[in-house]
Symmetry: C2
């Protein structure tokens, strides 16, 4: 409440906007300069740092706005339907990982399900209302409007996604391109020549990265490859699989962007009288306990989602506390072969 | 922020403590009287309502403390290990259900994993710090210290659990006793004479209710019955099952207080070379998608956890907004027979 107390005393705190005005740049340029990231020239960076010094503004967004204020709340806004949140293991495990770090620090998570269009406004309201000390940004899209809008207001945040999507923010990411390459090379080594993939929403940055890698590796290996877009739900995953199996000739192996869609595909294969893996190989992503409970068990690209969530939270605390926080590669998902992948029958 | 503005203007708002002092009762007695619940005499209730009128205090805790303030945040503190939160479907479906209501109202959930001993303090801090408009209280224990402490400070709250555990608070509950009775009668009808149950933590109010019902119904039917306590995790559920299977004679049917423990028991049965359901019947609780993914599929006491969470949230909004909010029976879990229950082999 330091901010409100200051306001009540009539002492307006110096903000990022004052620094930007004095340096003659936009607030986002200040953020970029302070984080020493590409995007402003060396001369501009110097001018911005000089302006910050002149105004007595510590070149650390988080520390300045939180001076004297305990870190107590971290924000997370997710643009997914509520029903899906409970059914898809990814977010449950990710949130659990975040909570494992928050619990140790007696902090709370402010969680909100939003529509994509409301994301910026929710974070702005949380941050400017003093309700969070920082946020974790997820499901980054290409040219995501959150990046300029939220760096412009000085929100301390960590982006979960590839650094190319994160703008001036620190990011925590998994190497999706390398994982897709491993998956495709594995299926090719088993002898598959017609492979398909059921992706998450196309507008998500990591879907685009995986699609590009999938197409490139399949092309290099001379495979017939295609991607069908779905939304991570069992319903759409099953439909996408059905669509692929109606094609002639049909794919002999399908990669899924999560585990729930791969589980649904097991049911669709049974509908078509196809035996998994003899007639059709299925490869899941994320590897929650779901993959080990099906019969056959599902081969998967394993990804320690709990630790990923914990690492995002740890990194956010570093950002909030003003420690140098470089973007971090959490891990490369690795292939766990189980009962749903095998050489094609023909 | 109405509260802080008032404080800044030097006008102290009338609180529940003033009403209690004038009426010569405790703050919890005021809460009880206002909600028209058993616990104070008619004369005392009249005295309390008169005191409230005299002080110009609207006999509606929530509406008075929130006057002019938009409802924006609901609190939920859960005393569970972080890792378990991600693996146990119950809480994520429950939270999804809460979020489905919050999303419609553009509200956030303040979520915190706590130690049992910190629950009161967390809710007190949230409420008195103006960080939540009300809370949902879960995992009620017998003689839960949250009830007197939080009704004493006028926290608008909904208790998830049997009304007998809820004190002056409105509760949303499932009829665990009736469900246990259905489960035991079903197993007895299949011919089982030695039945066991693996429960959640004994200190939880609903564990105690289920244990009492289990013992009573088994006694009435002349079954040999016992309950072993675990903590809802796969690890302890598997161990409890192993302990039961080492007994002579061993039970021919086991009921579990959630689904994760029943899934673990499938693995333990395989260890012992026992075929499910021929040698051993297993009956799960909650019926998440896990129960349909195992082979054999798990028979379960189905419980629409998503709707249960949504109902708890709707009821909390009614409480916060001052609408009459009676305790509500959400539903009685009902038996879904699948592949893990059958008559005993001998």
């Amino acid at each position: 409440m330091a901010r409100q107390a200051d306001a009540a005393n009539g002492e307006r705190r110096t903000t990022i906007r004052d620094v930007a005005a004095l340096a003659g740049v936009s607030p986002s340029a200040v953020t970029i300069a302070l984080h020493d990231r590409p995007g402003v020239s060396a001369a501009t960076r110097e001018r911005i740092l000089a302006a910050a010094r002149e105004l007595g503004w510590r070149p650390n967004l988080a520390a300045s706005s939180l001076a004297g204020r305990r870190v107590h709340t971290v924000g997370l806004a997710i643009a997914r339907p509520a029903r899906l949140l409970g059914l898809e293991p990814f977010y449950m495990e990710f949130i659990s990982g975040i909570e494992s770090v928050l619990k140790r620090r007696s902090c709370s998570l402010l969680l909100r399900l939003v529509e994509t269009d409301d994301e910026v406004e929710v974070h702005r309201e949380w941050w400017q209302g003093g309700r969070v000390n920082g946020s974790i940004l997820v499901d980054l899209r290409r040219d995501d409007p959150r990046i300029p809008a939220l760096s412009g207001i000085g929100l301390p945040a960590v982006v979960v996604g590839h650094p190319s999507l994160a703008g001036p923010f620190t990011s925590v990411w998994t190497d999706d391109a390398a994982a897709v390459e491993e998956a495709v090379r594995y299926l090719a080594a088993l002898g598959h020549r017609r492979v398909a993939r059921v992706s998450g929403p196309a507008e998500l940055g990591h879907s685009a990265i995986r699609t590009a890698a999938f197409t490139a590796v399949a092309g290099e290996l001379g495979l017939d490859a295609r991607t069908v877009v779905a939304d991570f739900s069992a319903d759409q995953g099953g439909r996408a699989c059905r669509r692929l199996l109606l094609e002639t000739p049909r794919p002999t192996a399908i990669v899924f962007d999560n585990d729930v869609m791969a589980v649904a595909a097991l049911g669709v294969a049974a509908e078509f009288g196809l035996s998994v893996p003899a007639d059709l190989s299925l490869l899941a992503w994320d590897d929650s306990q779901l993959c080990q409970l099906t019969r056959p068990t599902l081969s998967a690209m394993r990804h320690d989602v709990f630790s990923f969530g914990a690492q995002a939270a740890e990194t956010l605390f570093a950002v909030i506390e003003g420690a140098p926080a470089d973007s971090q590669l959490a891990h490369v998902p690795s292939l766990i072969p189980r009962g749903s992948t095998a050489p094609p029958a023909n």
